[in-house]
Symmetry: C2
Subunit: 246 residues, 2 copies
């Protein structure tokens, strides 16, 4: 992959289009990455694929780039969502950054009984997603949903989409066993609870839904954000051997 | 698992032994966790298993605990080492914390051509390992080795121990495929390079060793610390299905 600077932009992308960068982008491109007039970079907007662009104008106040050529479509990125309890700020930030690197398509903040953080700064999380996407070579940026209660998430869940529940009670089968079972059920999302886990009542309610399968990461008490990162890593590894064999 | 406060101590553990806590431990136990006289806690030293203890003395300057009863041996913790290039401080800290949670037995800092951090604060890393071990329920604490060059690591490597090399060039098989292949080779360690990867010469040199198998985590450019966390998660998940089936 290219070592070129990658930049996410909000505008649509087409050949010869001129894009004026905003102040933050200008600072990043000219000061942090120290690119100058005529230098090339890679741009993407999450919809139109990846393009090469060139810096065509720099002045004290403005920096324009011109779209030169199409590079690649949004690759077949995995269709896996992460439903996670809001955590302390540092832990949520880490989870969002790493989940983005690991290719998550949708981030769904959840509030359950033992969630003890309710504030979510959507702009901050979006900025983390964009930066991680720029750095890891993604052509898309994960969608961040509005926080919902566990009850609402379950009620609105599309029944045909499998939800893998990381059950810290340890009663589930090992996660890779659940992912590899040959059944109609297929994981479309991973659900990770708050630091203190789910209440027994919440757990019972979840397990009444046939779209939910419980799975365990093992006996160690990993933190919630570690559990999310581990589960996404294992999901990806399992998809990779399926692709490799086919 | 117990929600009790867990404390790592350096002294040996036997029934009825009295352990005077040092200032940091005293502060943690009495101020942070707010335990008082007669309260119970869990102690471990990485060698003698896990014990229940009780606070038997608190004064302005001292806090003593008494060992009450043996709880469990050092479980069959996985024998997996992580050889990693030193990274920026935040990234190394994260890698060490998460690798501890994920059960790594040995952390081996490595210096290769593109490593751009050479300082390592062993006490700081040890403190991170201890805190993560206390929190995740481990009975052992990972061993942290002295940093070595890639050349020295390869030269001194025990030939019978498989080294899984996370090859960011993408030429290796998918990691789970490598771990699941039925051969004599078995992964005893995971090797992750610096942010810029290994040089072609380093890569060629590594691949000349039959104890080394290259593996890929996929096409996405995950950061070095993410690669380490992912690989350990996948290793654990694979071990768990082997145990589950046997």
């Amino acid at each position: 992959m290219s070592n070129r600077v990658r930049l996410f932009v909000e505008t649509s992308l087409r050949k010869d289009g001129i894009i004026p960068l905003n102040d933050k982008q200008k600072h990043y491109i000219t000061k942090v990455m120290r690119l100058g007039l005529g230098n090339k970079l890679v741009v993407f907007n999450g919809k139109d694929g990846e393009w090469h662009a060139e810096i065509t104008h720099i002045s004290k106040r403005l920096c324009n780039i011109k779209i030169i050529r199409f590079v690649r479509k949004s690759e077949n990125e995995s269709d896996i969502s992460l439903v996670f309890s809001l955590l302390k700020r540092g832990a949520t930030d880490l989870l969002v950054e790493k989940a983005t690197e690991l290719g998550v398509s949708r981030l769904c903040p959840m509030i359950s009984k033992r969630t003890n953080t309710f504030k979510v700064n959507a702009n901050r999380l979006k900025a983390i997603c964009i930066e991680a996407s720029e750095q890891c070579g993604r052509v898309t940026v994960p969608i961040i949903e509005q926080p919902k209660t566990l009850g609402n998430i379950l009620a609105e869940w599309p029944r045909q989409k499998g939800l893998l529940f990381l059950d810290e009670s340890g009663s589930g089968k090992p996660i890779l066993e659940v992912l590899r079972e040959k059944t109609n059920w297929q994981a479309h999302a991973i659900l990770v609870g708050p630091e203190g886990g789910f209440t027994p009542a919440e757990r019972d309610k979840m397990l009444q839904n046939s779209f939910i399968r419980p799975a365990t990461l093992g006996e160690r008490l990993v933190r919630a954000e570690t559990a999310a990162i581990s589960a996404l890593s294992i999901y990806n590894a399992n998809m990779a051997i399926d692709h490799y064999k086919n």
